[in-house]
């Protein structure tokens, strides 16, 4: 067991889980003494009938307020609008039902209503909150972000063209409800992309410098569950066991990375998302094998250990120790390939194949310098095992674009060939 010289760990969120966990939502309302919860969600969740399901099983108070206007890329204006509704209707708690955008919006609403403020910017940054916020429960409808157990929210300010980061332990939701029924309607591409997002959370948490024995254990279990269930989840979307396992894995991965950190795959992924508008999970899947190769020189042993939860004991034992890290990368590439096949090629294994609705490439070469520049300013590089400069970032993007191995090139300064 690896124990660093110093570490911090916390899991502030209560976990309510099961195939019928929603039925016990009353536990939250009782504990919060809430008579008028505000349900923050989006139109897709409503259309999928999930709010109806919650209302019919959880017996919410008649005075509850449903705010279903959260867009996929929520911003400060949406937050302000929903804060006004919260106050106008006299709400006293928040139930967030949705994916990352909904959850982050709910956290931002909670900051303003708890601090009785109208200026979200005032709380931007780390540790700007000093007391508990209003009760917040999260019911995730995707299995990927991990935001349901983290103290972080990201809200866009489109007028200022920037994203605001909020980080505080007080932002952690009070409770998360993991119910397999909530993700049954997730389409194959989103199942693949969000599942891979969770996998990257777990893998980067396991190899990064802020790792500790708790984050390791959570990450390990998450990797095991995702490798066992992700493909089944794409092939058999109606399988409640698989959905439950993937939702649990996503939450465990959230516990892992929020107590360790993520790294270079997220740095590149955030930048490709910001500059080119590519889906976050898609960026994660493409970036993961390249990111592992990039870090091999510094943490090849840890990458090699992940072969066990990813591929199972037989493959692990049959692979010589010096080749396990490379085998881990090969295993991820194979998972990517299978996901592409299972989603009718909607899920891409390289940036070259990511196209918009008009069939135009979303990550053209002319945008690479912007991506590289943005990457170098990304905070997730801080605890990454391997450092990165502009040339490294360009080499990384090229490999991810071509779907090739970093070690195949001669120009890269870091990579698998150094480790082996």
């Amino acid at each position: 067991m690896y124990i660093p010289g110093y570490f911090e760990f916390g899991l502030r969120t209560r976990i309510l889980a099961g195939r019928h966990a929603i039925d016990r939502l009353q536990v939250f309302l009782d504990r919060a003494r809430s008579a008028c919860p505000m349900i923050v969600t989006d139109a897709g969740v409503v259309a999928a009938g999930l709010i109806d399901l919650i209302e019919s099983t959880a017996k919410l108070p008649a005075s509850r307020v449903i705010a279903d206007g959260v867009p996929s890329d929520s911003d400060v204006d949406v937050v302000n609008q929903l804060v006004a509704t919260y106050r106008q209707k006299g709400c006293d708690s928040i139930i967030a039902v949705g994916g990352g955008s909904v959850i982050d919006t709910a956290k931002a609403i909670n900051i303003l209503v708890s601090e009785n403020s109208d200026d979200l910017m005032q709380f931007c940054g780390g540790n700007r909150l000093q007391r508990r916020l209003r009760p917040l429960v999260v019911i995730p409808t995707t299995a990927g972000t991990g935001s349901e157990v983290t103290g972080v929210a990201v809200i866009a300010d489109h007028r200022r063209q920037r994203k605001m980061l909020f980080a505080s332990a007080f932002l952690c939701p009070d409770m998360v409800v993991i119910d397999s029924r909530m993700t049954l309607s997730l389409p194959p591409f989103l199942t693949a992309a969000t599942g891979i997002d969770a996998l990257v959370h777990a893998v980067e948490a396991y190899i990064d410098l802020a790792k500790n024995p708790f984050s390791d254990q959570a990450a390990w279990t998450a990797v095991e569950l995702i490798s066992q269930h992700l493909l089944t989840g794409v092939h058999q979307p109606d399988n409640p066991d698989t959905r439950y396992a993937l939702a649990t894995a996503a939450t465990l991965a959230g516990v892992a990375f929020s107590n360790s950190t993520v790294g270079v795959v997220h740095a590149i992924g955030h930048s490709v998302g910001a500059v080119c508008g590519v889906h976050h999970g898609q960026c994660m899947g493409i970036g993961l094998p390249v990111g592992l190769e990039y870090n091999m020189r510094k943490c090849g042993e840890n990458i090699g250990r992940l072969l066990l939860p990813l591929a199972g004991a037989d493959v692990y034992v049959a692979t010589p120790r010096a080749q396990r890290a490379a085998a881990t990368v090969a295993c991820i590439r194979e998972l990517n390939r299978q996901l592409r096949e299972a989603t009718g090629e909607r899920y891409a294994c390289r940036f070259k194949d990511v196209k918009d609705r008009q069939g135009q490439p979303m990550v053209p070469r002319e945008k690479w310098p912007d991506i590289a520049d943005t990457t170098l300013g990304d905070g997730t590089l801080f605890y990454a095992p391997e450092d990165m400069n502009y040339d490294d970032a360009m080499t990384f993007i090229e490999a991810a674009w071509q779907g090739s191995s970093l070690s195949a090139g001669t120009e890269n300064r870091k990579g698998a060939h150094v480790y082996n």
Partner: protein, 400 residues
């Protein structure tokens, strides 16, 4: 999905851990983050040398802050720990404190938890009934921070008051908000004397999962506990631990407390408590000797639940070499071998069997009688207990 998990579960363990070098120096900052500026600090005064060191460390931690902490030493554990808790409440009100910090382990942490309970209820209350305790909602403006000192047995960071498996109550709301594990506070730890407490924690972690109901989160803590405790046991038995391994051990022991579900069955502790009372031995030693003999009688535990611990005990590389269907049996074998290993490491001091621990066979009936009423005995019948006692007395492993 792992078959041994509960179909529906509720996991709540909202404790933060700050562990490692200089962790104590974060205390003023952490207090300021919850809006506290005047903490009442309760210090466990066990042993003169330990007292001096603990006070010095605490005062040093506050030197660079503007805070003026008040130090207090509650009375020693007595028949009525409520009296000590009331003293704490009175002092808290007298100085206008806004947070409780408890330094030490065991009884003093229980007193701090009870004091927080009393402070959280409205009006003048001298004590709370068990029912009140389990229903209580702690006031968010009274932070409870625990800095681990010598004597940690694992339940301090959880909602337990009293020892699990003994007369104990679980009160979720009295769980500390933050745990600080700083090697400087563990200086005075005598590792050989601590060994029974640490073995107890190991047994709690394994039996909580073996006899369920488990879930992936309690499992995460239980496996971290076993992985952290196991490799250090032989060093502890031989009094050969370093500052770093002490910190690791204490961290792992605390994890065992997190992994304890208040609803889990504890058949090993139920029988172990009876053995320790009748046989006059430390509970951790009785529990450790009994653990494999009790688990071996539960086929479900061996085949479905023990396998999870093999990686934690022998490491991923060796575990991968074992045939998957043998993982449970391999864990059982490791558990049978542990007393032998501790016996060797301790120069023959650690007993390998109940016979070596001094329990006469003719007292078995009394042991079973004492263990029978325990509500958490679970599937353990009188016949099974007798068989387990017989085998553990003679040191005859049962492996199917």
């Amino acid at each position: 999905m792992s078959d041994q998990w509960q179909a529906e579960y509720d996991f709540d363990c909202p404790v933060s851990i700050h562990a490692g070098n200089l962790a104590l120096d974060h205390l003023p900052f952490e207090l300021s983050m919850v809006g506290a500026g005047k903490p009442l600090i309760l210090i466990d005064r066990q042993g003169d040398g330990a007292l001096h060191r603990l006070e010095k460390q605490i005062i040093a931690a506050f030197q660079s802050s503007a805070m003026q902490p008040s130090l207090m030493t509650p009375g020693a554990a007595g028949p009525d720990r409520w009296a000590n808790a009331r003293q704490v409440v009175e002092q808290y009100a007298r100085i206008g404190a806004d947070a409780l910090v408890v330094v030490g382990a065991g009884e003093i942490v229980d007193q701090a938890k009870l004091a927080r309970g009393l402070l959280s209820v409205a009006g003048q209350v001298d004590r709370l009934s068990v029912n009140d305790l389990t229903q209580i909602q702690s006031r968010p403006d009274i932070a409870l921070i625990w800095a681990a000192g010598p004597g940690v047995d694992g339940r301090e960071a959880s909602g337990w008051i009293g020892r699990p498996g003994d007369a104990s109550v679980f009160c979720q709301a009295l769980t500390p908000d933050l745990v600080i594990i700083d090697p400087r506070l563990l200086d005075a730890m005598h590792t050989r004397e601590q060994l029974p407490g640490w073995l107890n924690a190991l047994v709690w972690a394994i039996q909580a999962q073996a006899f369920g109901p488990g879930n992936p989160f309690s499992g995460m803590y239980a496996k971290t506990a076993v992985a952290g405790i196991w490799p250090h046991l032989s060093f502890a038995a031989g009094s050969r631990m370093t500052k770093k391994t002490c910190t690791s051990m204490v961290t792992a022991v605390i994890c065992a407390g997190f992994g304890l579900s208040p609803t889990a069955q504890r058949p090993v502790s139920a029988l172990g408590r009876a053995v320790s009372v009748i046989g006059r031995m430390a509970p951790g030693i009785a529990d450790m000797i009994l653990l494999p003999y009790v688990v071996a009688h539960d086929a479900v535990a061996v085949s479905d639940r023990l396998p999870d611990f093999l990686t934690a005990i022998i490491g991923a590389d060796k575990a991968a070499l074992a045939a998957p269907h043998r993982h449970g049996v391999e864990v059982l074998r490791q558990l049978y071998d542990l007393p032998e290993m501790l016996h060797a490491a301790s120069g023959g001091r650690f007993p390998r069997t109940l016979q070596e621990a001094g329990l006469p066979r003719f007292l078995f009936d009394e042991v079973i009688e004492l263990a029978m009423p325990a509500s958490d005995r679970g599937r353990l019948s009188a016949e099974t207990m007798l068989a387990a006692l017989d085998a553990a007395w003679a040191g005859k492993p049962v492996i199917n």
